[in-house]
């Protein structure tokens, strides 16, 4: 052993390991670890890699289904879309690094999630992102947006994968911890999916991609801790990305995958060489022996500790079929990437590392992965909030002003300033993207008539108000958004962003959200196939709002039956599908207009949702709908306004005659609702069929004109609404708006 540093309690603490966790290491090894071994245990047992606080709860998720080829546990989830095609996808957080170093943090988040997908044999075909920033007038917000957006664009644009959609929210709860969640969707042939389980004994282990440097050491440990005022000092733990190398790596891997040389492949993400080698060995039940002298190194005199914990980007580890090594050399040398044989599989079940002819690590693999701590952390369920009676909320004096305020509020205002920095068209298969303002992005499967629909959603104010209800809602909303473009929802990935799980109320939020999400997964037959958990999103003891971001994926079997938000024509009748109670609790209206964030969130009724959604999807397939948009933030009024903006027209809305207060009628956020624009002669058949299916439907107005109108309530020009909607973000980024 080369390392003789004394492992003191301070050294253990610096590695983010508790005393009891260290004791487990001592028990398993029956000796003191050396520093290399301690470092390896530290990253493998970090929250980020081991899911030690969430594992027992994640295990409850519905993860299987007839279309699931691979659920959680691999680099990404795999679903069957027929004809021998499959979709491989995952969403992942890069929150901590993006706060410290926004450009590189976000860029490497995109790079990492793409690697998770092409590691499995899929060509990435679409990127999405879900971003949460602090309140606009927080001094850091503007520069964080600028850096994160540039980083996402800088990476995705160069690699040549379209960034087709996402969501961006602002709330003071994210002032000290922004969220950068990136999702990648790839396409592969079902018989060409690659997995990470190593197998065999004596098979060569190959390292390919970039050289290993000293960047990102302990990134996973950093991502598993709270922030304080000195977090800036953690900048060196943030990795630096090179999208050029990533692009070469994709092409080279695709080329090698077309041969029969690869037994197993795994990208080097969090915890780099350590987690990739341990995971491959653990899944395959084999041992691994690496000679670190052969690892391509960017800097001189790197220690084994540094090499094993480096999070240098754009690297992959592969187990090859013996005798096929020359194929790897040929392909990777063609693409001018590093390629080196650095070890072999063994039958010892141990991770053995050699460096300069000495053994510098020799530990059993099982405790690193399977026997990692699995905590049952105490939790308290969030207190239920009272249901707000809409009649108790004062009516506004000027509905025009309210509509303008809502359509230009940071969460709703156009994000054109952001998505114009993303190449949304490269690969020439994007059929719908952020540019339409629609509910889901749609990307055609190259060379087929099929298309995938993708949507990312979560409403953190609902999750904060009631984690279980918010959990149900976020899964439900992706399902609804996929339905809006005519897709059959198939499965989800998730990114569970929460505060410190050692605090029972935070743990309660996590457990509650998972419970609600899982109920929705079961009700909708909509399993979770991949995901990640990001905890400790806290600064100086203040946690973020619970934010379980969900990425839903669905299939449009024939892309000519695509309906979008932008297809409304003058003279179309506007229909509302779904029930109306006028739910103002935890609504956008309440927050933006009344400055209140209280009240129970709107409940989700799965039976109604399924009936309504299936009917809308059927109408889309029958080509009975010109445009559709779901009612979410800001309720009916905002849904109609957004649909008109996207379709470049106006609307006349009928004044309602029911006993729901007008503001609740217009801005209430009852779930399970869709606004449809249909030809007048389709109205009666749609209504009569709906009655038979127990789907509530009502006429609410007509499309056309240059104004957004309701007698005695609204009279506002679409130009003026568009101006309000489009201008907030660019003005803000110039520094002209708050």
């Amino acid at each position: 052993m080369t390392k003789t540093e004394k492992i003191t309690p301070d050294v253990v603490a610096e590695h983010g390991l508790s005393e009891s966790e260290y004791q487990i290491i001592l028990d398993r090894l029956e000796r003191e670890p050396n520093l290399n071994e301690l470092g390896i245990f530290s990253v493998m047992w970090s929250e980020h890699c081991s899911y030690k606080s969430s594992r027992r709860h994640l295990a409850k998720f519905l993860t299987s289904g007839e279309k699931v080829i691979q659920g959680p546990g691999e680099n990404a989830g795999v679903i069957d879309i027929g004809d021998g095609d499959c979709i491989i996808f995952k969403m992942e957080s890069h929150n901590h690094p993006s706060y410290i170093e926004p450009y590189q943090g976000a860029a490497t988040g995109v790079g990492g999630i793409m690697r998770d997908v092409f590691t499995m044999g899929a060509r990435p075909i679409a990127l999405m992102n879900a971003l949460r920033f602090g309140e606009p007038d927080h001094p850091k917000t503007r520069s964080l947006i600028d850096g994160v957006v540039a980083g996402i664009g800088g990476y995705g644009n160069c690699v040549g994968v379209p960034t087709v959609g996402g969501e961006t929210n602002f709330h003071k709860g994210y002032n000290g911890n922004i969220l950068v969640n990136a999702m990648c969707v790839g396409h592969a042939r079902t018989d060409k999916v690659f997995y990470s389980a190593a197998s065999g004994v004596g098979n060569p282990i190959f390292y390919v991609g970039s050289k290993t440097g000293r960047d990102g050491i302990h990134g996973a440990t950093m991502a598993s801790a709270e922030f304080d005022d000195d977090s800036e000092e953690k900048r060196p733990t943030v990795q630096v990305g090179d999208p050029f190398t990533e692009k070469l790596l994709i092409e080279a891997c695709m080329e090698l995958m077309a041969t029969d040389a690869i037994i197993a492949i795994q990208d080097m993400g969090a915890a780099g060489l350590t987690s990739s080698s341990v995971e491959m060995a653990d899944k395959g039940g084999v041992g691994i022996e690496l000679n670190l002298d052969n690892v391509p190194q960017r800097e001189e005199n790197m220690t084994p500790y540094e090499m094993m914990l480096s999070e240098s980007q754009e690297r992959m580890l592969m187990v090859l079929v013996p005798g096929k090594e020359h194929l790897a050399y040929e392909v990777f040398e063609k693409w001018e990437l590093d390629v080196a044989e650095i070890g072999k599989t063994t039958d010892t079940g141990r991770l053995v590392l050699k460096h300069k002819r000495k053994i510098v690590c020799d530990i059993p693999i099982a405790p690193l992965a399977d026997d990692a701590p699995n905590y049952d952390r105490p939790y308290i369920a969030s207190e239920k909030r009272d249901v707000i009676n809409a009649a108790d909320i004062a009516q506004p004096d000027d509905f025009n002003l309210v509509l303008k305020q809502l359509i230009s509020c940071p969460d709703i205002a156009s994000k054109r300033w952001i998505w114009e920095q993303y190449d949304r068209h490269v690969m020439a298969n994007t059929m719908d993207s952020s540019q339409s303002g629609g509910d889901a992005a749609v990307v055609r499967i190259h060379g087929t008539k099929k298309a995938v629909a993708i949507s990312t959603d979560v409403t953190p104010r609902y999750c904060f108000a009631d984690p279980v209800e918010g959990g149900r809602q976020c899964v439900m909303e992706t399902w609804r958004n996929l339905t809006c473009v005519g897709a059959d929802p198939i499965a989800i990935t998730d990114c569970l962003n929460f505060g410190n799980p050692e605090r029972p109320e935070i743990m309660g939020q996590l457990v509650g959200c998972i419970e609600g999400m899982n109920e929705a997964c079961h009700a909708l037959n909509y399993p979770v196939v991949s995901g990640n958990v990001s905890l400790y999103n806290e600064t100086n003891g203040t946690a973020i709002p619970p934010t379980p971001a969900v990425g839903g994926v669905g299939l449009i079997p024939d892309s000519q039956y695509l309906t979008a938000i932008s297809g409304a024509k003058d003279g179309d009748t506007l229909l509302l599908i779904g029930n109306m109670t006028g739910w103002l609790g935890a609504s956008l209206y309440l927050r933006e207009i009344e400055g209140r964030e209280d009240g129970a969130p709107p409940p989700v009724n799965f039976d109604e949702e399924i009936r309504n959604g299936n009917y809308v999807r059927k109408l889309i397939r029958l080509r009975r709908i010109n445009a559709v948009h779901d009612c979410s933030d800001g309720g009916l009024a905002l849904a109609v306004a957004e649909l008109c903006l996207s379709s470049n027209t106006g609307a006349v809305i009928t004044k309602p005659h029911d006993d729901i207060p007008l503001h609740a009628h217009l801005f209430g956020e009852d779930q399970g609702r869709y606004v449809l624009a249909v030809e007048p002669n389709s109205v009666n058949p749609i209504i009569s069929t709906a009655e038979g299916l127990k789907v509530p439907v009502r006429k609410i107005g007509t499309i056309g004109g240059d104004n957004f109108t309701m007698k005695d309530v609204f009279k506002i020009s679409m130009n003026s609404l568009r101006h309000s909607h489009e201008n907030w973000l660019p003005e803000y980024m110039k520094g002209d708006a708050k």
């Binding site: 993303y422 190449d423 020439a428």
Partner: protein, 220 residues
């Protein structure tokens, strides 16, 4: 009719360009790797695709303009081989000197991706002649360095000789005289920042780009 697309490390619109060529010619385009030294003699039309060749390190297109295959391309283009470069391909053509001027960072300093309306300013060229009844087209743009610059003298000559083929209707990047696409003196080498190859399909980006490809293919 044989067409080819040059593939550099980190070209990323090479497949899109090949699909457009195949759609118009009915034949697969040949993909030529950057380390090749010769463009086969039977190739009738070459596309330099968009992307980030060699990571766009140094300057956009600078390294690609010195690659082995581009040396041969310059030779053949000077002898009359039709060549078109889109986005990064335009940057490469400017770096080789086959086309005058340079592409600088966008005036707004940001990457910009949008559907861009373009005015066709000369329909009497090999690349635009099928647009006879059309005044403007919409092509996607997606670039960070598309701000066309040349000396006033060069711009005057380009305009006077009818070598400006497309101009931006609403300048997205600060290009001088709103220039979006130009050709060389002989009229066989063309470059533009917008992407006609992403506008060949009603389901994606519209079909305004089809006539561009048909024009050049028909002229051969």
């Amino acid at each position: 009719m044989k067409t080819a697309v040059i593939v550099f490390p980190a070209s990323n619109c090479d497949r899109d360009a090949a699909m457009a060529l195949e759609k118009v010619t009915g034949r697969k385009a040949e993909m030529i790797w950057h380390r090749e030294t010769e463009i086969p003699a039977d190739i009738d039309f070459v596309v330099l695709p968009g992307g980030f060749s060699y990571g766009d390190y140094l300057r956009c297109g600078a390294i690609a303009s010195r690659s082995p295959i581009v040396r041969d391309l310059i030779d053949k283009a000077e002898k009359g081989l039709p060549v078109a470069g889109f986005c990064n391909g335009f940057q490469i053509l400017a770096e080789t000197g086959l086309l005058p001027g340079a592409l600088m960072r966008n005036k707004g300093l940001k990457f910009v991706c949008r559907n861009q309306k373009l005015t066709i300013t000369n329909k009497n060229t090999r690349f635009t002649r099928r647009y006879k009844d059309v005044e403007s087209v919409t092509f996607p743009i997606a670039h960070h360095d598309g701000n066309y610059f040349a000396s006033d003298e060069v711009i005057r000559r380009l305009e006077k000789d009818g070598r400006v083929l497309f101009k931006y209707d609403g300048n997205p990047n600060g290009s001088k005289s709103d220039i979006a696409g130009i050709c060389n003196e002989k009229g066989n080498v063309f470059g533009m920042m917008p992407h006609p190859e992403r506008a060949i399909d009603a389901q994606h980006g519209g079909t305004d780009g089809l006539e561009f490809f048909k024009s050049i293919i028909e002229s051969i």
